[in-house]
Amino acid sequence: MNILNIAWKGIKTDFRDTRTLFFMLAFPVVLMLVLGSALSNTFGNSLPVDDIHVLYQDTSHSDNFNQFIDAAEKSGIHFQKVTETINPQNEVKQSKYDGYVEVTQQGLQLYVNNGNSIEGSILQGMLTSYVDKYNIASEIMKVAPEKLESAFTHKQKDDFIKETSVLPNKQPGSMDYYAIVITTMIVLYGAMSSSSLIISERVRKTADRLIASPVRKSEIFIGKVLGSLVSNTICVLLVILFSKLFFKANWGNHLGMVILVLLTEIIFAVSMGIGLSFLTKTSAAPRIIIMLFVQLASFFGGAYFKIDNPQGIFKFITELSPLTWVNSAITKMIFANDLSAAIPAVTIHLTGALIFLLVAVISLQKREGL
């Protein structure tokens, strides 16, 4: 009961604080709008989609695929039978064709050029609906120019089959992209306000009154954390809702799961704020640390601009940012229906939260007062 009392008080005052509201609500919305519209050109979903050329070979002895070809022709996708004289994989590799489809009695295999070309994606999407319709086993090979051989010899079946669910209209547009990365960034900034949860009570001396009341320290702590979690969650839900309604951002078909992942990030951020506030002596120090951390994490996590295929040491740095993981998780959940992609992000969040909470609880037990 006291826990709820304390949590409720925290929520109430959070939403009275215009600074918090600006930072948690107005700031992300404006940022989405600015980045989402300013950088929309760098996102390729407005490419013209005519003139897609596909090679195919059909040994299925059924008429289904021919019907598909006729239908596809109307959308500007031209299929051409493989002739003896050409090597279809090479053609795809050299980008002379956008894809090569092999239809057999066992199923269907698609080879597309590596690099997520928009044509390749559209092809995948078309074929997926075809495959779904006739319930045909399917595989997609991404033909990396330098890895052509290995892609054929070791069939990393699982990885490839997953790609069948990528639909052409489900490539993230710039607004979709920034809705995700700005939301996850703002969640991380939630650590700022939670870093002052306990410190502000100490500064205002209300900590003394709380301790003088017949409420256990653990109840105060849990109440404060709970209140902060709820406030942050409400803000995030509002941001999601706003971006969905007014920016038409795509939050996918698994919104509940996406929110769950965001919730683990909120838990991580709130715990980080509290943990840091117990690790440092001044009240300014945790804010500075969080500010720096979130800025770097945002930069390398793709919050300001998309980072495509980072290599080497740069890749390693991006992987240090928790935002990289959660952004990739949510993107895959939304655009590839891949719920298992959430696992690394959730693991990182909960492990981090646990460590920071332990730090806070241990220091709290040692302290006299809050």
Partner: protein, 312 residues
């Protein structure tokens, strides 16, 4: 019954001993004053009683029960008015009192009534919806008190509740303290203002360097330090005053001339007022006024601790 018993209480901040083997008893119905200079250890003692600080040694009993072992019981029965304002600036006066009273298990209708009662008690009934940042220093102090009394504690501890406020608010607070006492609350009152303590406290402890150096009613305290009194005689002109002959009067210890005022310090054991007046008449000194100055607590304090109550 004793509301508070302290036995051999000691508090150290690393090597520094802030409270040194202190023992003390406060009975039900008392207004007990803590008098001490800056850093004497008043707040530290009070904070241990309220459960904010852990003692290094000693026992604190609240209403006969060991406070460390019955912390919930002790805290339920104590209302703490901290030295520093402890209120939320981002909540209204009403919400502040309600939040803290709610921590004592009050709910619903009863909670609302108690909050009203507390706000009315400190004269803030018109300020329910106001935020503390629109309050004067005195109003904030009063809210600080309201937050401590809504749960009707048996023991109210006030740590300098009148610091830095206007005389009107101060009177209001002093009256509230008396009223709370009449309603059955036992009160521990800390102050720098000697007059306040002298005015409202039934018993006083003088604290210095973490120790109680004197304890009792104000009369008892005054009698400890002094067996002399001051007689101030104002005359028309001090030209004809002969200091030596006044000093020769039995019992007179010292004579000081301050403009038209002759200050005579004299032994309380000797009744020499007649002789002094006689001397003035014989010397043709025209007496304008005559005052007997009893020692006040300030002098008691100064004599006992060798320092002023306030750093000035």
């Amino acid at each position: 019954m004793n509301v508070l018993e302290i036995k051999n209480l000691t508090k150290k901040f690393s090597d520094f001993i802030a409270v040194d083997n202190m023992s003390l008893t406060v009975a039900e119905g008392e207004i007990f004053g803590f008098l001490g200079a800056n850093g004497a250890g008043k707040s530290t003692t009070i904070n241990m009683i309220a459960g904010l600080l852990r003692s290094n040694e000693g026992v604190i009993n609240i209403l006969g029960k060991n406070a460390a072992k019955n912390s919930r019981f002790a805290k339920m029965n104590i209302g703490m008015v901290p030295q520093d304002l402890a209120i939320y600036e981002d909540m209204t006066a009403y919400e502040n009192v309600k939040f803290f009273a709610g921590l004592y298990g009050l709910r619903g209708q009863e909670l609302n009534e108690r909050v009203e009662e507390a706000l009315e008690f400190v004269g803030l009934q018109d300020k329910h919806k106001s935020y503390p940042n629109s309050f004067s220093g005195g109003m904030k102090r009063r809210l600080n008190i309201a937050c401590a009394i809504a749960h009707r504690p048996k023991l109210i501890i006030m740590d300098e509740p009148t610091v830095g406020i206007d005389p009107q608010s101060r009177n209001y607070i002093l009256n509230s303290v008396r009223k709370l006492n009449e309603m059955g609350c036992t009160i521990i009152y800390t102050s720098h203002y000697m007059e306040e303590v002298e005015e409202i406290c039934s018993r006083i402890a003088i604290i210095d360097h973490g120790k109680i150096i004197a304890e009792g009613t104000k009369e008892q305290l005054k009698s400890i330090i002094t067996n002399t009194k001051d007689l101030w005689i104002e005359v028309k002109s001090t030209e004809k005053v002969n200091v030596e002959s006044i000093k020769a009067i039995n019992g007179v210890e010292a004579v000081q001339i301050d403009e038209n005022l002759i200050k005579i310090n004299s032994d309380t054991g000797v009744n020499n007022l007649n002789k002094i007046i006689e001397h003035f008449i014989n010397s043709h000194l025209e007496i304008r006024s005559l005052q007997e100055k009893a020692p006040n607590l300030e002098t008691v304090f100064l004599t006992l601790t060798g320092r002023n109550l306030r750093d000035q």
